[in-house]
């Protein structure tokens, strides 16, 4: 029969016997001058920063510093929008950010339109998940960044799933007690317990200037039809800061004029209809 060892993690509760009560009293009296109540559990104060989406901030409380945050969802679910919004928020606060782009999909034009200060952003263009993880490790160990984003949004899910759990534990441990936010973008959740905050995003309704119903001709295209944005639902799967069960929030995106396909703000050298 295996010898079961009882392991206590601080803060632990001693069984209230006469000997243990005496021991507890001795510990409390010896620490009285330094620690007020050594056996009382204290919550770690988690500092959070705005995500850039006020509606999410109200619900989720922002991205926690010194921990790992996971954002996942399918393509077009608004993951990149939320990531770029966070980058804009942090760079505007004079922080230096890093983006580890596993599949080289970052668009500097839309980031600039969203308010990201590109000169404060270190962009690392990787070719695969392995490179991205190695680079993230180097950045996390280097320290000093306000936000480090690991974009695995277009990486093959089975590749992300094959990342050993200890890698995420290592990352979490590295950013602990630092002001760095480590943000991981994925298609499906893999980090789970290592993450302090997990957000799941879904795309909802697309907003076009003219819907198919409003167009007289029964076809999905009109000469004046423009994409305005779409609505995104954010599901909070896990949050250590809020200590709440699942809750929902949402926000709407708007296509910036300089990245939209439209004649109003010509982006091309010569734009013709």
């Amino acid at each position: 029969m295996a010898n079961k060892k009882r392991r206590y993690a601080f803060p632990f509760v001693l069984p209230m016997g006469s000997k243990t009560s005496l021991l507890r009293l001795q510990v409390e009296s010896s620490l009285a001058t330094r620690v007020a109540s050594p056996f009382q559990f204290r919550d770690r104060i988690v500092e959070t920063v705005p995500t850039g989406a006020p509606l999410i901030d109200r619900r989720v409380g922002g991205f926690p510093r010194g921990s790992l945050t996971e954002i996942y969802g399918p393509t077009c679910s608004g993951r990149t929008t939320l990531l770029v919004s966070a980058l804009a928020s942090r760079t505007a606060a004079s922080e230096v950010c890093a983006l580890v782009d596993a599949n080289d999909v970052f668009d500097p034009h839309s980031a600039k339109a969203a308010g990201v200060k590109l000169e404060q952003l270190l962009w690392v263009r990787c070719r695969n998940v392995d490179q991205a993880l190695r680079v993230t490790d180097l950045l996390v160990q280097g320290g000093g960044f306000g936000l480090i984003a690991l974009d695995l949004g277009d990486a093959l899910p089975h590749m992300v799933r094959s990342v050993p759990m200890q890698v995420w534990f290592r990352f979490r441990r590295a950013v602990e007690h630092t002001p760095t936010i480590l943000l991981v973008l994925e298609q499906e959740t893999t980090i789970q317990t290592c993450a302090s905050l997990i957000l799941k995003l879904h795309a909802q309704k697309m907003r076009w200037s003219e819907t198919a119903e409003s167009i007289e001709i029964s076809r999905p295209h009109s000469p004046g039809c423009l994409l305005h944005g779409w609505k995104i639902r954010v599901e909070m799967i896990r949050s250590q800061a809020k200590r709440e069960e699942r809750s929902d929030a949402g926000f709407e995106t708007e296509i910036p004029r300089n990245i939209r396909c439209s004649p109003t703000e010509p982006r091309g050298g010569r734009r013709q209809r």
Binding site: P50, G52, P54, L55, P74, T75, C76, G78, R79, T80, T81, V84, S85, S89, A92, S94, E95, V96, V105, F106, D107, H109, S110, K112, A114, Q120, L122, W123, V124, R125, C126, Q131, L138, G142, G143, G144, F145, G146, G153, D154, P179, M206, T211, R219, P220, H221, C225, L227, G229, E252, T253, E254, I255, I259, C261, S262, R267, G268, G269, R270
Partner: protein
């Protein structure tokens, strides 16, 4: 006004020992001349105890067991002299470059900074040792007395004003560096020491030895007065090492580079400077296998190859370990293609940046550490894939360039309460935030089905979907005067994927819907997917 003089005895030998400290106290003889007429020009004390004398031929010296014979290397002497100058400038900005092995410093006003004159001498000796040299320091009230005392006395010598004649009296006349004829004349007269020379009448000495005699007389009395010829400090630092056996592997090369960098950083530290850029040059061994002898080159001596790499540093650095790591990473990426015969390191110096810390400022990465981290990242992902994106002044879709990432120099703002949520999205009244785009690099070829001039179905990368809304075509063109001109018709298409299940699970999750940007490239005559809104 006190002056200090530093004299490095046996300078040629010390220059060689500085480049290779393992030779210290081993019995070393330096030879010079045209082969086969090599002659000994410098020896150390161990070699002298063995019986080796200056002027012996190389063949004679080879008879002595345990003596290291090295040729005199003028390049190393030049670098050792530069190190000597740096030691001087580290104490006083007013300095004279008197000779290859001697300098004179003006110490006016330095006692308040370094303490008594003996302390200044100790500082100079300590910094000289840091730079790999050993020398004598003499402090006197005039330049010539300081120089003569440094040549004549070992260690630190301080001569008080008025004691010059008395202190120099016991020194041999040779320390005044008279000409060869004058030395012979003085020997014939029986004048051996400075006090003997000082006792001679000046007028008679002038009649017999001319102006040189008068100068020597004044020097022997410690009464020679002249002005300091001030040397201008250089901003470039160089260290060089010639190798007996060519080095091929990185590990032994790192060891040698570390030694050179220690010397270079020691000099930079002495001048309170940092390296703003570092240039590494190798002289490579001619490779016989790769070189095909042509008729003209056959029989001639092959020229060594060259290898040169410049490394720009974000902030001036003088940490030799950090610089060595950066150099190692650079050499791992771009190794030389032949064994290395000679190493030269050149640093352009600049004043180190001083930043005042603030508890209320957001933390930023340490510049030196970040440079090392970026060098390691470049080693992983390759050059051109790390940096800061910069939008170019063009309308070409998706055009940008990567710039070197540097920590912003302007002081960051203090996070105030109003600054805690400063994103542009927060300022929007309706709570919307700007949408972002993911770019496919390279673009993905696509097929589109059309009905009355409007795309109805698309297929790309094994995905097929129905178009539920479309916006386009928006034509853009530009750079028609160049070879890489562009003309594209862009469409934003909302696609509902129906048969995505056919896709292999290893290729990712099939999306249900998405807004993609398609374009027709007139140059390539085909449809492509540029990216997706996400």
């Amino acid at each position: 006004m006190p002056f200090a003089s530093i004299f490095v005895p046996n300078f040629w030998l010390q220059a060689v020992v500085r480049a290779d400290p393992a030779l210290r106290e081993r019995g070393l003889a330096l030879i010079d001349g045209n082969p086969p007429l090599w002659r000994v020009v410098a020896i150390d004390t161990v070699a002298a105890q063995m019986g080796i004398e200056i002027g012996m031929t190389k063949t004679n010296v080879e008879q002595f067991a345990g003596v290291e014979i090295r040729p005199r290397i003028p390049a190393q002497e030049k670098i050792a002299h530069a190190a000597l100058l740096d030691v001087g400038w580290s104490i006083s900005p007013i300095m004279e470059d008197t000779a290859q092995d001697a300098i004179v410093l003006d110490l006016y006003g330095l006692t308040s900074l370094f303490g008594a004159e003996e302390d200044i001498g100790a500082h100079l000796i300590m910094r000289l040792t840091t730079c790999g040299l050993q020398g004598n320091v003499a402090i006197a009230s005039n330049i010539e007395t300081a120089l003569i005392a440094a040549r004549g006395f070992a260690g630190i010598t301080v001569i008080a004003p008025g004691e010059e004649s008395y202190r120099l009296g016991g020194l041999a006349v040779r320390v005044l560096l008279p000409s060869h004829e004058t030395v012979e004349t003085l020997e014939r007269w029986g004048v051996a020491t400075c006090s003997d020379l000082a006792r001679l009448p000046v007028l008679d000495l002038s009649e017999r030895l001319g102006q040189e005699g008068v100068c020597l007389h004044a020097q022997a009395r410690g009464a020679s007065m002249r002005s300091l010829v001030i040397a201008e400090p250089a901003d470039s630092f160089e260290e060089e090492m010639e190798l007996d056996d060519p080095v091929e592997e990185l590990e032994p090369l790192s060891f040698l580079l570390g030694r050179l960098l220690d010397q270079l950083c020691g000099r930079l530290t002495a001048r309170a400077l940092g390296a703003a850029s570092l240039c590494i040059r190798f002289e490579l061994q001619p490779s016989f296998e790769n070189t095909v002898d042509t008729q003209e080159t056959f029989g001639t001596q092959k020229q060594p190859g060259r290898y040169e790499k410049q490394m720009q540093l974000p902030v001036p650095m003088r940490d030799s370990k950090m610089l060595l790591k950066l150099l190692r990473l650079r050499l791992q990426r771009h190794p030389p293609n032949a064994p290395i015969q000679k190493i030269t390191l050149t640093a352009d110096a600049a004043r180190p940046r001083v930043i005042e810390g603030n508890l209320f400022l957001p933390s930023i990465p340490d510049s030196e550490k970040l440079e090392l981290t970026m060098a390691r990242i470049v080693h992983v992902v390759g050059e051109g894939n790390v940096g800061s994106p910069s939008l170019t002044n063009t309308h070409r879709p998706g055009d940008f360039e990567m710039q070197r990432f540097l920590i912003p120099q302007d002081a960051p703002k203090i996070n105030s309460r109003s600054d805690r949520a400063p994103g542009r999205a927060d300022k929007r009244a309706d709570g919307t935030i700007p949408a972002s785009f993911r770019v496919f690099r390279p673009v993905i070829p696509a097929q589109l089905d059309w009905h009355t001039g409007v795309p109805t179905r698309v297929a790309f990368q094994g995905l097929r979907g129905e178009v539920s809304a479309a916006s386009g075509p928006w034509r853009t063109s530009g750079d028609w005067w160049r070879d890489d001109s562009w003309q594209q018709d862009e469409w934003d298409l909302e696609i509902r994927f129906q048969d995505a299940v056919e896709r292999s699970p290893s290729r990712g999750l099939p999306p249900n819907l998405g807004i993609y940007r398609f374009f027709y490239d007139s140059q390539r005559r085909g449809w492509f997917v540029r990216g997706v809104y996400d």
